[in-house]
Symmetry: D2
Amino acid sequence: MTQLFAEVELEVPFHDIDVMDVVWHGHYVKYFEIGRCALLRRLDYDYPQMRESGYAWPVVDCQLRYVRSARFGQRLVVRATLQEYENRLRIAYEVQDQASGERLTKGQTIQVAVDMRSGELQLVSPTVLLERVQALLQGAP
Amino acid sequence: MTQLFAEVELEVPFHDIDVMDVVWHGHYVKYFEIGRCALLRRLDYDYPQMRESGYAWPVVDCQLRYVRSARFGQRLVVRATLQEYENRLRIAYEVQDQASGERLTKGQTIQVAVDMRSGELQLVSPTVLLERVQALLQGAP
Amino acid sequence: MTQLFAEVELEVPFHDIDVMDVVWHGHYVKYFEIGRCALLRRLDYDYPQMRESGYAWPVVDCQLRYVRSARFGQRLVVRATLQEYENRLRIAYEVQDQASGERLTKGQTIQVAVDMRSGELQLVSPTVLLERVQALLQGAP
Amino acid sequence: MTQLFAEVELEVPFHDIDVMDVVWHGHYVKYFEIGRCALLRRLDYDYPQMRESGYAWPVVDCQLRYVRSARFGQRLVVRATLQEYENRLRIAYEVQDQASGERLTKGQTIQVAVDMRSGELQLVSPTVLLERVQALLQGAP
């Protein structure tokens, strides 16, 4: 099956390094988000488009598994892959060392649609998302 | 069975609020850590004591589940509870609204001991942790 | 002359410590903000009241001077003092070690009022601020 | 006179945006640091080389002036320029909108060398820095 994904490169900044000389574990939530926004942009459904469509998409679940640590100046690749979209948005992440391809961290987030006017949780993803995913899946090479 | 836990109060600062007017989901990793450090301090085994004991305790797994959002200035209680310690350190977290006791976020972290000289992962927790936990469990009311 | 100020205590969390084992210099902007919000709350003019009053107060200038570093777990006192309010909001900060009173960091921020509807910069502070400051100055012990 | 500088491009991530829908002012300290590290790398004297040379270079002064705000997804250019190096390291920063070249933020940092063994502040920059700056100034186009 065709998978929608996006990859972003980043370089570990000094202010993300903790006293153990590695990236503090909480900063990977930011790296995941950078990957997620790149994926959502491929769908033309990043944060500004979400807001225009009348839905907020809060993260309701986030899981991170740390395999290897990353160091100051290390170049990383964040890969975000769409796993589910029909009822909720489930995205999987891998953070790799750019040079070796070695996997450092993996994880996932789950987001649900909330109607911004009524505040109601949507048990089925809004049409605006379904259409964009399906268009991209059909057009995807 | 007696459970070891610690509770910390905190107030949501302006810089933790995102454009949706709620705490950005990644900041809860910090709130968990503040609770964890309070728990480890009860054990007299917070970060400085870990380092002195010759072991690093990297977080290898972190899970967060978001139930309700938190707002600027809201007073929160973070409760960190020791769940496992014999082979690894598993700590569960609850973030509650201080006024109502309503649960906002829950989660857990898993840490493993790494010998700082050899870099070797310890499959059994070092004696230094076991002794402190058992002393506290016996002395706990 | 009577000075309006507020003091807040905080404890340096692990995630604010950099690889040199001291608070990374950028985090003091957060500590200043925590002090500023406490001061603005004394004026009943913190961020939510600013928004209700129709004015945003962007920081247009921020200066920090570092005298001594702070360490993990150190208890700090942040003191924010109102220095100017008639045409702009100038607040001075001191971060001290709680135990010794030793000064670690000082600085200031300047904010200006912007009308949220027109986007226009206000060259004189809005009445809503002037009244609150004067009421507090008259009532101040 | 020849000026040593470095430029870095970055894109504003979602987690740097505050409730006013603009970059929270404190995050520019990070953007400055990303520019500074690029400049220091040109000198082959970034954080790891500093540490190897036996000197820490704490930031003792940081000034920021905000001209225009930046928004989610905006592409920025950070330019860091060496201003002084003989007795201390003074670096000036400009953050510009990449598309228009419009200046958003400017500022500076001052760092001083501290001998990591003795803890003594150096009133003259160590030879290791002087040599690298002069080599680059002579070789600079």
